[in-house]
């Protein structure tokens, strides 16, 4: 990343200013023109360094009271093909393959499921189980009971990109 992009990320990681001309406010803090700020933001949106700009809701406050991290011990030969199908289910918001940590942790597929309540999550987990079929040796669902922190990325100060 260029020094400017890095400064811009640091300026924006706390959020976009709530003023009528937010990109101008960012430009003023950085000592550059608003056009340059908007051009760099657009460039980062295009190359994917910024996934999107917008609001990030607290899912509890929106009525999604049950948040279950479903975890699955899936046959290594099938996990990639099946993971893509699990990720395509509408109730699954995130889906990843991660390493097992034996003997503490046997699960290699993680699928995050949200619902109004635990019964709704359980129904979605049953849908995942039917997609995975015989390729699953075991699974579990870890419900979240508290958000302890949710801030997003923080770049350390000072380090050149």
């Amino acid at each position: 990343m260029t020094a400017l992009d890095r400064m811009l990320v640091r300026e924006l990681q706390n959020g976009l200013p709530l003023t009528t001309r937010p990109y101008d406010a960012v430009a003023q803090s950085l000592g550059v023109t608003p056009d340059l700020v908007r051009a760099r933001v657009n460039a980062m949106l295009e190359d994917g360094r910024i996934r999107r700009i917008g609001v990030v809701p607290n899912h509890y406050a929106l009525g999604w009271h049950a948040n279950g991290m479903s975890v699955w011990d899936v046959d290594d030969a099938s996990v990639d093909a099946l993971g893509a199908r699990v990720g395509a289910l509408p109730a699954v918001t995130h889906c990843y393959r991660r390493p097992r940590r034996l003997p503490d942790w046997r699960y290699n597929l993680f699928a995050m499921v949200h619902g109004r309540d635990r019964d709704e999550v359980a129904a979605h987990v049953a849908d995942i189980a039917s997609v995975l079929g015989d390729a699953v040796a075991a699974h579990d669902v870890l419900f979240s009971t508290r958000i302890l922190k949710k801030t997003g990325l923080r770049l350390a100060a000072g380090r050149a990109g």
Binding site: L16, T20, M44, V55, K149
Partner: protein, 149 residues
């Protein structure tokens, strides 16, 4: 939440304009005014309906890494350990979950070495082992959750 709050939450999850007066442009699309939209977002942030407003960065595309990590924390130390873990700026999210591994957090760092350093710092501050689960493959990342009625 009223209809405008729900519309803001639902529609501004998928994008926000990059122009001189983006709140004005978004307000017109939502059928409200620039000042009202700014006021609403401010209130939704303050009452914790929203956790953030602004760009969502793709850490891997910036050369960094998100790493999921978990710890088994004794109940009587849970809040103190949460404080130690959350004090690290590298900790982007942290959730309490029902499992013997009862604390699950995400480290967002710029380099793999920084991930290892953060893990070492957490282990030395808390005296508890940290299991890490780096992403090996991303099958899907959803962007939005609708506001329920």
């Amino acid at each position: 939440m009223d209809d405008l709050d729900r519309a803001i939450v639902d529609r501004l999850q998928t994008g926000f304009p990059v122009c001189e007066r983006p709140f004005l442009e978004a307000a017109v699309a939502l059928g409200t005014t620039e000042d009202a939209l700014i006021g609403r977002i401010d209130r939704l942030l303050r009452d914790n309906t929203l956790t953030r407003f602004g760009p969502l960065f793709h850490v891997e595309r910036m050369g960094g890494a998100f790493t999921l990590a978990a710890m088994q924390v004794p109940a009587d130390r849970f809040d103190a350990v949460a404080g130690s873990v959350n004090a690290l700026p590298e900790v982007a999210h942290n959730y309490e979950r029902e499992n013997p591994l009862n604390m699950w957090f995400v480290l967002a760092t710029e380099t793999p070495a920084a991930t290892r350093e953060a893990v070492a710092r957490i282990e030395s501050r808390t005296g508890l082992p940290v299991l890490t689960f780096p992403k090996e493959r991303e099958y899907f990342v959803g962007l939005d959750l609708k506001a329920l009625r």
